[in-house]
Symmetry: C2
Subunit: 372 residues, 2 copies
């Protein structure tokens, strides 16, 4: 079976690495002009001229990023199975559609309003009560196109900075930590849930994910499973879905979803019985799902901007290095390191040992270090 | 770094799958006319016309099979680092050279003699005492070119069957089980040893490997490590080396070595902190070695000839499927399944559950099942 992947970055690369052992072949369709998957066939096509060619070479289609034109996915879906369904893309590309769907399915969100001018942004900020977060409705990625308003007076500046015709204004959530749940749904409707991960961001980029999230109460995991399952079933979804959430004293609040394998699930390569990548390929190919049980405790550390001293990291007996074979550039995701341990105490020590070899890696702060 | 691999079968494929996350690229050089790696670039060249081209594309050279002309490896080694060294090939291609080296290094072997005629085979059988095993001196693979003589009278038939100008005649070893040790040596001389695996063959083909080998006494592991370390250091070896041994009540007896990753080490993909494939790539690339610690108990089941009911195996939460994307053919290695467990009792049950979906898979017999 040949799987066509829209996008040709590191997520596609890791999907392929997980898919070859299941006898899948891969064709990547790159619209960026700078594919980096480094595996399989790659069709570079900035003008949509070779979509037919792409289609003719594949049996099923999936994607590794959600900012592709929905029309393209819909057109492809007329000819070959496209998983996840184009509707999932549509929802993710519009924060209003996304929050509306969350609301319909009983998934808690921050209070939110829509604004289409600096004045209405100011009004929304007043009504919701500051601080609020204003975000462009479309094309959000890694914290771009967002602004925090500490008072309604900042509406003009925020509006100019975001520079979009419409923004969603969300009441600031006083969260104790950021978490995510990753789930996978098979063609037959079977669903499996990875344990919730705790995520630490720095300058808008994910830096650390710990899974299972330390100190998580069982009912919180159950809540997250109920929320993501509602999304999966509503969308008749096939493949891996990620839901980013805030944990608050009052429970979970949904931030956004990603219709794909996700950076906060990279720990699963060595940290779970079946990685998110293999499970996505299994689902997309019509196979049964693999076990999502964790194998011990994991922390994923992103390698951002510079590679650092990889040789020293390779010496650490508990570290697994995953490089994307990309050139160094500020803010760019170049790879990640998965750290394994049997206790959270040991995990903290190991993560800190590893992080010292990664220049620019922010100090490891998590619910674990806060407690200690 | 681009790694050139001589051979393009499933071992090369799994080397590449382990090497991409370390930012390696792969070029395969295939002399068989039927490459199956399915990854990286492949140069198919039955006449040696494109060796220069191959060399120009790679930084380092390794190989996935030992039946390639030593002259080719020696020629390549004049231009690029070739790991393991061509001398390792030379030793492995000649059973007399191999047994002689074992003897020089104090590695126990069966008593053996060389015969170059049916008469001298008969004389050797009489002198050693039957049963003896006669093997062609070169090109042995998966039990081909071998004969067991229960009495010296069978010398004529055995000689004709083997059809080689020279045979090695070995006294039959009354072993309790077949085992193997896999070790890896880095460029700087650092050495790491995987736990000994217990191997079960059927019709000359490996069917099951259990690691760590159940009930193994610590001094037996130490003996095996001493033997393989002597070989690694003598050969100034870089990469993974496999030593197949018989376990007997009197200790280990060496059968043969393979200068490469080995089927009896496939369990290490999920069953060890670092797989044999990753460690081979690390060594060949000049990186430090990864931890060889086992992660629980593993059994590898080979998929031979037919794929069987892979969908059912994919449903088993403790099974990891590795397919080589090859067509079915009697006796052909098509893939393997790694089974994980926390106890040997559970491992036996799981292996039997899995094996029932593999037609032609012989009943699981091992030191575990023999004990009842």
């Amino acid at each position: 079976m040949r799987i066509g992947v829209l996008g040709a970055g590191q997520l596609g690369r890791m999907l392929a690495l997980a898919g070859y052992p299941l006898a899948k072949d891969f064709v990547f369709y790159d619209m960026s002009g700078s594919p980096s998957a480094g595996l399989g066939e790659t069709i570079v096509d900035r003008d949509g001229k070779y979509l037919d060619d792409f289609l003719s070479r594949v049996d099923r289609v999936t994607y590794e990023f959600e900012h592709l034109p929905v029309e393209v996915a819909e057109e492809l879906a007329k000819h070959k199975p496209v998983h996840p369904c184009p509707r999932a893309l549509q929802v993710c590309q519009n924060r209003v559609a996304e929050k509306t769907l969350f609301g319909q399915l009983g998934i808690p969100t921050p209070e939110w309003k829509v604004a289409d001018s600096a004045d209405s942004l100011k009004a929304a900020a007043e009504e919701l009560g500051c601080p609020v977060v204003a975000k462009s409705i479309t094309e959000g990625y890694d914290g771009k196109g967002q602004a925090v308003l500490k008072s309604p007076d900042q509406a003009d500046d925020a509006w100019d900075m975001i520079g979009h015709p419409q923004v969603i204004v969300e009441k600031f959530v006083n969260f104790s930590r950021e978490v995510s749940i990753i789930a996978v749904r098979a063609e037959d409707g079977d669903v499996a849930f990875y344990p919730i991960a705790e995520n630490t961001h720095h300058e808008g980029i994910l830096r650390y994910s710990i899974a299972p999230a330390p100190g998580l109460q069982a009912h919180v995991q159950k809540d997250a499973e109920r929320y993501i399952k509602a999304l999966l079933n509503e969308l008749n979804y096939v493949g891996v879905l990620t839901l980013e959430l805030f944990e608050t004293p009052e429970g979970l609040v949904a931030n956004e979803m990603a219709p794909r394998v996700h950076n906060s699930g990279h720990w699963s390569i060595e940290g779970a019985m079946t990685s998110q990548f293999e499970n996505h390929i299994r689902a997309v190919s019509g196979h049964p799902l693999g076990s999502v049980e964790p194998r011990g405790l994991s922390c994923m550390i992103n390698i951002i901007g510079e590679h650092g001293d990889i040789e020293r990291i390779l010496e650490l007996p508990y570290a697994h290095v995953h490089l994307y074979n990309k050139g160094e550039r500020a803010g760019r995701k170049l790879g990640h390191v998965n750290i394994l341990a049997d206790s959270y105490k040991e995990l903290v020590w190991r993560v800190r040992t590893c992080a010292q070899f990664l220049p620019g890696c922010p100090e490891f702060k998590s619910s674990l270090t806060a407690k200690g």
